[in-house]
């Protein structure tokens, strides 16, 4: 087993609204090893992004609140730290890439200034030094003519370029952990391939661990070493990549894998897809017992009354389902 970098234990992040409490993340436990890629898959509203924001302590409060749990970065609990300490960790130890590069870059500052900020803040460099380092970073992420591009504003760049700038910012201080929240969802496939390539290259060079949040199982298959499948705020299944794809156990994981068209499987051609019936439940009105019970094709009586916990079905392979008790 490699060194553990981040460990999340029983994390609960709730949002208090006028309509009730939304348990966006409800008892999540995860570990990320040094230099590894952990994929978090799930559909919209399953709590993937709130998990990321919780790690960064960026959950907006009110309405949100981290109720209980531990987020241990190399043994230090981020949730017990004063926010001034967390600020030092953000950007330096942990950084984040968001889905929409247009809204997460500041439109009124040049990209060079935005990348420079973390150099000035965390490493105390002068303006000139910081700008030079920014140019280097832009070169690393593959932006042509970086010495000209540092003077561009975000709107002058294409979507792929903006995401490169985001990555340049994220890796500028050689963080130990990078959280990428749907980093390629808004991009075209050929640009997506470029961005994924850069992320892998930087991971090798800097030794950064990555938490890759996405709904795209294809991206997970190409990038991750281990995968957590989330549904309505909880991990449903957790295993390493080959185990999860070759030997999925949870009915939800199986359902997800069967519901996507598979160009790699010839025998599936022309047949209807095995869709999961129903819709993702709202966080305010989850079914009783197992959260997936109303859509599950292998549901039994116990599922409607009691919620299963995460059982270890094989070494390192965890599954939240009564089928495996």
């Amino acid at each position: 087993m490699k060194n553990e970098l981040l460990r999340i234990d029983g994390l609960k992040t709730y949002f208090y609204t006028n309509f009730g409490t939304a348990k966006a993340v409800d008892g999540l436990s995860l570990t990320v090893n040094q230099g590894n890629v952990l994929g978090i898959v799930g559909e919209s509203g399953c709590g993937k992004s709130v998990t990321a924001l919780s790690i960064m302590r960026l959950v907006k409060s009110p309405p949100g609140r981290i109720e209980t749990g531990k987020i241990l970065l190399e043994g230090q609990d981020l949730l017990k730290m004063p926010i001034s300490e967390v600020r030092k960790i953000r950007g330096q130890m942990i950084s984040m890439i968001f889905q929409e590069p247009m809204t997460s870059l500041n439109p009124v500052f040049k990209v060079g200034d935005q990348i420079s900020e973390s150099f000035k803040l965390h490493q105390g460099l002068s303006k000139r030094e910081a700008l030079n380092r920014s140019i280097e970073m832009l070169k690393i992420v593959g932006i042509p003519a970086p010495e000209k591009r540092v003077n561009d504003y975000p709107h002058q760049l294409s979507g792929g370029m903006r995401q490169r700038v985001m990555i340049a910012m994220a890796v500028s201080c050689r963080p130990k952990l990078m959280i990428a929240d749907e980093p390629t969802t808004a991009l075209d496939v050929t640009i997506q391939a470029q961005i994924l390539d850069i992320m892998l290259k930087l991971k090798e060079e800097i030794g950064t661990a990555i938490i890759l949040i996405t709904h795209n199982l294809g991206v997970i298959a190409e990038m991750a070493q281990s995968v957590a499948v989330m549904y309505a705020g909880k991990t449903m299944e957790y295993a390493d990549i080959l185990e999860l794809f070759n030997n999925p156990q949870h009915p939800y994981t199986c359902g997800l894998l069967k519901s996507i068209p598979r160009p790699d499987l010839r025998e599936q051609r022309g047949k209807p897809l095995d869709a999961i019936p129903g819709v993702v439940p709202g966080l305010m009105n989850l079914p009783r017992g197992c959260r997936f019970s109303d859509r599950c094709n292998r549901v039994c009586e116990r599922c409607h009354t009691e919620e299963p916990s995460l059982f270890e079905v094989a070494p390192g392979h965890y599954c939240r389902c009564w089928l495996y008790v």
């Binding site: 559909e43 919209s44 294409s158 792929g160 370029m161 075209d188 496939v189 050929t190 640009i191 997506q192 391939a193 470029q194 994924l196 390539d197 709904h215 795209n216 199982l217 294809g218 991206v219 997970i220 298959a221 190409e222 990549i241 080959l242 794809f245 070759n246 359902g255 997800l256 894998l257 519901s259 996507i260 068209p261 598979r262 160009p263 790699d264 051609r269 209807p272 897809l273 095995d274 869709a275 999961i276 019936p277 819709v279 993702v280």
Partner: protein
């Protein structure tokens, strides 16, 4: 260009279709350039066939769909539907033709009027085209809602009460209201969650079988297109670069862009170790497309000829059309 030995009737034939948008600034400014959104596209769709149209954003695939429906007026070219020249039709006839051609939009959130109930939304096309009296229209709405897998009691609700997948079903019911033959599906599943995507794909396939529909399926997701379509056209910057039967396209893609596109789309199978061809650079702006072959700026196998001359779309094998100097070309 049809596939197999059965005589297939072409429902739609598009020839050398072009749509240029002039760029103007200010009230009296002269044109500052032209966006060639669709630049000489020719294709046919046989009856009951699904033709896939793939390409990256800005390649003109949606514009092509809108041109076929005459939601936009083409700059040049012909569209023949069922033997009739769509572009030459007078108003009354065009209206009747439009009953037969419908569209399903990408975004189920913005394409439904939030002030209409589901019942009103589905009935709207029947009212506009003056189909039947009120009771028969209501009956038809009821039929349609069941056809797309929604319940009768949901008819009085408003779009915001539905999830994305259900909204897309409402959009499909609207498109079906007038018994169309041809439906342009413009990225109908792109905005949906994975598990919901499969439901909508299956619904589209069922409806096609049951009602004998013809689809032009526009998407950027190659695996969805592969699943649904018999033939696929690949577009790049306003031009079709390759067109062939799905199986042949996936197994023996010829155009370097198609190859790169296939290699870049991630496959959910970690056992597969693939060589990824990573294309350099972005899609060039359609305002100032590269000279010669539009793809030459990113092509890994570019010749000198590609920079100066424009290759034509040529049939290199029966039913397999490629626009590249590496194949055929006289």
């Amino acid at each position: 260009m049809t596939e197999g030995s059965v005589a297939v009737v072409d429902l739609l034939e598009v020839e050398n279709l072009k749509k240029y948008y002039p760029i103007k600034r200010g009230a009296f400014a002269r044109s500052r350039g032209i966006v060639k959104a669709v630049d000489g596209v020719s294709l046919t769709i046989a009856e009951r066939e699904t033709l896939g149209l793939v390409g990256e954003s800005g390649c003109g695939k949606s514009t092509l769909g809108r041109l076929i429906l005459r939601l936009e007026e083409p700059t040049e070219g012909t569209i023949t539907y069922d033997g009739q020249n769509v572009l030459g039709l007078e108003k009354g006839k065009l209206r009747r033709l439009k009953e037969e051609m419908q569209i399903i939009f990408q975004d189920p959130y913005s394409s439904l009027n939030p002030r209409y109930t589901v019942s009103q939304l589905i009935r709207e096309p029947l009212i506009i085209h003056k189909k039947g009296d009120s009771p028969s229209q209501k009956k038809r709405v009821l039929e349609l809602i069941k056809e797309v897998g929604l319940k009768e009691e949901q008819l009085r609700r408003y779009p915001h009460e539905f999830s994305g997948g259900q909204r897309q079903r409402i959009g499909i019911a609207r498109a079906l209201a007038l018994n169309p033959k041809l439906i342009i599906c413009d990225e109908p599943v792109s905005a949906l969650d994975v598990s919901i995507q499969a439901q909508v794909i299956n619904l589209l396939q069922e409806l096609q079988k049951k009602l004998g529909l013809t689809y032009l399926f526009i998407s950027h997701d190659l695996s969805v297109v592969e699943h649904l379509c018999a033939r696929i056209a690949v577009m790049y910057l306003g031009r079709i670069v390759e067109l062939s039967a799905t199986r042949i396209l996936y197994d023996q893609a010829m155009h370097p862009y198609t190859t790169a596109l296939l290699a870049a789309s991630p496959i959910p199978n970690p056992n597969l170790k693939r060589t990824r061809i990573v294309l350099q650079g972005d899609v060039p702006s359609p305002i100032n497309p590269p000279t010669g072959c539009h793809f030459h700026t990113r092509c890994p196998e570019v010749y000198d000829q590609c920079r100066e001359e424009t290759p034509v779309l040529e049939e290199v094998a029966p039913g397999h059309w490629v626009r590249c100097f590496r194949y055929g070309q006289g």
